[in-house]
Structure formats: C-alpha cells, structure tokens
Symmetry: C2
Subunit: 404 residues, 2 copies
C-alpha cells in the first residue's frame, strides 16, 4: 500500500505547466495568468477631485479668486490655474495644472464676483494623486494567480485588453463498462446509468480544465484502444478494471512502451488506482463506483490540473484555496467517529454553523457507495491512518466540497 500523498507525488511528478494563449479581457475570469500582467498606465491617470468644489492654489492665501473655468469628468480644464484663479471642479474631474488644493463651494465668500476663501478651509486632502491606486508597469496580477472578478476590474482599470494565460488542460474522460447506459436511453436489465462523467466534467470545468467526455465504451480492448487517439493532456478512465479483468484498460492501450500500474492506495473510499502513460500523456484509472471516483478525482485530478495550469497557490485567496480543496479547514465533530486502520479515511459530512463555530455532522462511514449521501454532504472530514476514535467536539480537518 502507498499513502495518498505518495500517490499524489507520483502522479504530479509526470506533469508540468502547459502552453499559453493570449485571451481577450472579457474571457480572463478564472484563468491562470501565465506571466505577470502589468498596468499600461497609472490609476488614476491624473490627480482627480474626490469632492465637488473649486480647484485653486494654496499659496494665494485669502486673496479673491477669479473663476477661470470648470473641470468635470471627461472634460478637463484646458489651461493652467494662475495666481488668484480658481476652477469649478466636480468629483472625478482632473485637478488642473497649477492647482494644488480644493475648497468647498459652500465655504466661498463673494468678493465682487470673485471668490474669497478662509485659508483654513483650503485642503489638499481632497485630491487623489495620479497612480495612487497603482503605477504604470506595476504588476496587477502575478504569474500563477487565478484571475478573480475583482481582478477583472483591476486589469481593465490598468488598460489591459488582452493577457497571456495557460490554456485549459484537456482532460479526456472515458466510461468503460458493458453495464452502462446513458441517461435518457433505455436501460436494459442488469444495466445502470453512467453517472460519474457528468459530475467529473463539471468538477474539471470548475478547476479550470477543459473536460472532454468520450462517453461509454464497451469492455473490449478494441473499443478502449480508441482512447489512444484522445487529444488531451490527461486521460481518465472510469471503471473497466473492476470487471475481474483488472488490466483490460492496460491491455487495450498496451504498446511496447506502455505499462499500466495498479496502486493499492491507503485510503477510503477507494479501490486500486491505475496509472500509466500514453507517450507523454498520463492515464489515470479511477474506480467504477461514482461516489468513490468523485472523491478520487478531488484527491488526484484537482491537483493535476493545478500543476498543468501553473497555479501558484500562495497567490490565491484563502477562499479560492478552500474551494479548490488544496487547503483544509477545521470544524468540530457533532458525533463520534471510529478509529481508522492503515487507510486515510474521507468521511462525508454536513457542515453547520452553531455558536459562531463550524461543526461537521458526519454521515455513517458505511454509506460510501451512496451518491445521494455524497450529494448531501458539504465536506470530506479527513481522518489520518491509525487515528484513535474521534469524540464529539473534537477538532477535525475537512476539505470543503463547495461548488464541486
């Protein structure tokens, strides 16, 4: 038996960041920056007024000011504010050349058509300096960061119309089994509906990959051999090796340089994991049971996609890291859990907020193959190998299931 961590290390060792593509701004959300994305200009590009009032020169003191013009957003004052001059300015208007302060209109005293201000009412604080938010050339989104909605506005404010991101890694999914029917099709006696591919495709899209579901293949070497043509960075087979013929997939894909290993991973739920390489492309064989296969996917495919995307976890926000399952959270147990054996155990649980704390209510451990239980769960509580029994109230680690 090998540990979950060892299986992850072996799988990830065969992967590297894939090629990049230039994308238009509107398509950048959730993509991973392939290089530092820098501002093309200062923000704000010029000093602007944060209040309505008059832009003027502090050094003129209490001298009467002649109103020389006005500045509104998009319509800057074209000249320079000279000695004893003022320019009417509106929030967001550019501070005109020569001005270094703003006074409120309501503080103005009439001085024969001109305006006079008490120097105490003239403040430089209402000017937002050029580049206060960011300077031209500064990094708005560093390489490896997954671009959020807020980053989208930041990039736009920096004038970025296109950026280089990692291509979405293509993940080919093949469901193998004579017993499988497609939902919507007739289901003969002895047949079940193929279901893992639908959930796995949705997960892969959430993780930033491009799922490509090849549908259902029969348990025959000839059918399975068609996988070899999949134009993908990762091939995932579902089932097909629980048929008693554990190496059907391996045989089907077998060439002189192809080997499919069967790993006995120390975790629950889960059956042997198949791993091989078709040329440079890793092939991962997951269990046929949908609930087990989806948990395996979170453990092994999610980090694989992150490696191919070149995601720098340290640059992602904590909620993003929770979302992608690469950072566990802690909760308190609402009921006791038995000791574990040599296998790391992932217990499905429902999260509850109570008294400002997060609690995890585990579902019975025996419900592994139940998709209905996995769908109801919020979280996978992680119990390490050889753990003592857990008591109600104990703090445990969990992987949030979120949008999975």
């Amino acid at each position: 038996m090998i540990s979950v961590e060892e299986a992850q290390i072996r799988i990830l060792a065969g992967l590297k960041p894939i090629d990049t593509e230039l994308e238009d701004l509107v398509h950048l959300t959730d993509r991973v920056a392939a290089e530092d994305i820098r501002a093309l200009g200062d923000n704000p590009p010029a000093p602007i007024a944060t209040v309505n009032g008059y832009a003027l020169r502090r050094s003129d003191g209490d001298a009467p000011r002649k109103v020389a013009g006005k500045a509104t957003p998009g319509h800057p004052f074209q000249g320079t504010v000279g000695t004893n001059e003022a320019v009417r300015i509106v929030i967001g208007g550019v501070i005109p050349e020569g001005a270094d302060a703003i006074a409120f209109a309501e503080d103005a005293n009439d001085a024969g058509g001109d305006l006079r201000f008490d120097p105490a009412d003239i403040q430089p604080d209402y000017i937002r300096g050029a580049g206060l938010d960011f300077k031209s050339g500064s990094v708005l989104v560093p390489a490896g960061k997954r671009i959020t909605a807020r980053d989208m506005s930041l990039l736009a404010a920096g004038g970025v119309a296109q950026a280089k991101v990692r291509r979405r890694p293509r993940v080919a999914i093949v469901s193998v089994g004579d017993e499988l029917s497609a939902p919507g099709e007739p289901r003969p006696h002895g047949s079940i509906y193929a279901s893992t591919g639908y959930g796995l495709s949705a997960m892969i899209a959430t993780w930033g990959g491009a799922p490509c579901d090849f549908g259902i293949l029969e348990d025959s070497a000839q059918e399975i051999a068609t996988i070899a043509d999949a134009d993908a960075e990762l091939v995932v087979t579902l089932g097909g090796h629980s048929v008693g013929n554990a190496d059907l997939v391996a045989k089907a894909l077998g060439t002189s340089d192809f080997r499919m290993d069967s790993w006995n991973v120390a975790y629950r739920p889960g059956r042997p994991l198949l791993y091989g390489r078709l040329g440079d492309t890793p092939v991962l064989g997951l269990p046929g049971n949908p609930a087990s296969a989806l948990v395996c996917s979170i453990l092994f495919i999610r980090p694989s996609i992150d490696i191919m995307l070149g995601t720098a976890q340290s640059l992602c926000s904590l909620p993003q890291r929770f979302k992608c399952g690469c950072h566990t959270m802690t909760a308190r147990l609402r009921s006791a859990l038995p000791a574990t054996d040599a296998r790391q155990t992932y217990v499905r649980a429902r999260l509850i907020m109570q008294g400002g704390e997060m609690w995890a209510e585990p579902y019975p451990v025996l419900d592994y193959p139940m998709l209905s239980v996995l769908a109801k769960a919020d979280a996978l509580v992680v119990l390490p190998p050889h753990a003592a029994p857990s008591q109600t109230g104990d703090r445990v680690e969990f992987i949030p299931l979120d949008g999975y």
Copy 2:
C-alpha cells in the same frame, strides 16, 4: 439615511422568481432547479454484488453446488439459481433470481466438480439491494437547490436527461460617463478606463445571472435613454450620477410613470444608490467608483439574482452560501479597527489561517477607492453601525470574497 437591510428589502420586494426552461443534463451545473427533480428508476436498479464470488441460496446449507453460469456487470445470468446451484459473480454483477447470499471463491471446496461451502462463510452482506441509494420517484434535487457537480452524477444515476431550471436572469450593465474609455482604446487626457463592468459581469455570471454589458454611454439623456430598450430583468447603471447632475439617468429614462429615487444608504464604502423601475424592470444606479460599485453589487445585486432564481438558501450547502455572500463567517482580527459612526462599514481584509483559526488582517479603512486593495482582499469584515472600536483578537463577521 436608510440601513443596508432596508435598502435590500426595498430592492428585493420588487423582484420575483422568473420563468423556467428545460435544459439537457450536461448544462445543469450551477443552475437552480425550478421543481423537484425526481429519479426515474431505483439506484441500484437491481441487487448487485459488492465482491467477487458465487451467488447462491443460504437455505442449501453445506450441500455441493453446481455452477450454473456467471453474472458480470452488464451481462446478468438469465435464469434462476435453483436448489444446490451457484452462479459465478463479479463485483457489480446483478444477483440472479433465486440467490440470496454470496460466498468467496477462495472459501470453495471442490466436491467432484461441484463446490461445497461452510455455511459460516456464506454471507448476505455483500449484496447492495435495489434502491439502496435511492428509489424511483424520490427527489434527487429539490426545487430551489443550486445544482452541484455531485448532483450532476446523482441526476445521471437517476436517469434524468433533462430538467426544468430557472432561466438565467438577464442583467443589463451600462457604464455612464464622458470620462470613460474602453481598455485597449486610446485614453485621452482626463479619461479613465471603464472597469466596473468587467468585474460585475464576472460576478453576475458566478451568481447565476446572464450579464449583458452595454458598454460605455456618454453623459447625455439621449444616449442613456437607449437603456429603455434593454431586454433584461434588471438594469444596472454605473456612474452617471456623480457628475453633479445627480438625476441625469432618471431624466433620461423619465416617462410619465418613471421615477428614480436616490437613497442615502448608511454604509461605507458607498454613495447614494439610485433606484427606479422601467415598467416592471428595476433599475439600480451604482456609484461610478469601481471598488464601491463592486461592494454594492455584492450587497444588492447578488441577493436580487437569488430571488429571481428562486434559490432556497436552506437547501444550499454551507460553502455555497458562503460563496454567494448570503452567510457570513467569523474570524479574529489581526489588528484593531476604529469605532464606526451611523454607517455599516465593510472593511476589506486578508484572511490567514493560524493555529487552526481564521484571522482577518484588515486593510486601512481609507483605501476605499483602491481597486488594487479590493483585488488583494479575501473578505469584507462587517462592522455594524455605532460599533465600539474593535481590538486585536476580537471575533468579527465577514463576507468571503471567494471567486468574486
């Protein structure tokens, strides 16, 4: 001044769940079920073996059994297991008619070509009964639930090929201002790049709406009047009312039955919120400042979309509710925050896990207009009106910013 809650109540009162559409299974992820989605068959559809072995009759005791055939996934044994018969069975194979237990192959003793088992080795436990996961007709996804990736597999297993979901509410976005240029276009002196729409569109898509960005309109009643033709359930205007002419949008859209109210909402950051109705369509006017507008969007547009989708929050998982901002979490403050005035204050903060606890490191409150700070933040710490100063270590509520 009205409270944030009062503004939310007024906006949501004008909204209701929109019409539904039938969608194919592969497009159901993240959609909201418009009615209970029920299983079209049992899962498993027939009792199946959870181990490899022989299916047989317990009542035959230790009598030698004749092997009558085999059952593999997709290839059920066609007959009935009679007295003193056994059928070779493989994991996932259907338990043949007549059999009620399984024995392992390694426990078989040869009896002149037949097989004899010790009755103690014959167990009914390795049969997963028909409908153990769910029964035909049971509710797989209740009305109002947002469909997760795991639900996708559950629906497929229930044979669901199509389901009725809420249409994505269309949200029209118009950016108003003579000072705005589009990223990628030349930016004249006094102009800034329009940026809010890019982030807001991404947020709306995450929340389940269909954003439709109308781009940049000039500060003219004639231009703004084109909004009236937007085919949308909600119209959002950005800026255009900080130009000194606070009711430009209102005027542009003014018909005999149109009124645009300006609400002074007790929150920070934020400026007056405009609210009106074009026929049945609510029009929401957000501040021109991108960072303020995005925070306003989380407070007012996110719940609007949920109402239109008919989302039943109680049916969503806790991580989903965190994600959509409708459930706050708590963290401890890493540094002190000043008392608040009459305004509810949303302080941008970075989340950190330390010692198994979540901590929030607030950014300086003065940094409101900074998009760069909003982009770096993970969370909005919520300080209620008239709150005393908060100390380092205090527990505070926050809205996670997640994939926003």
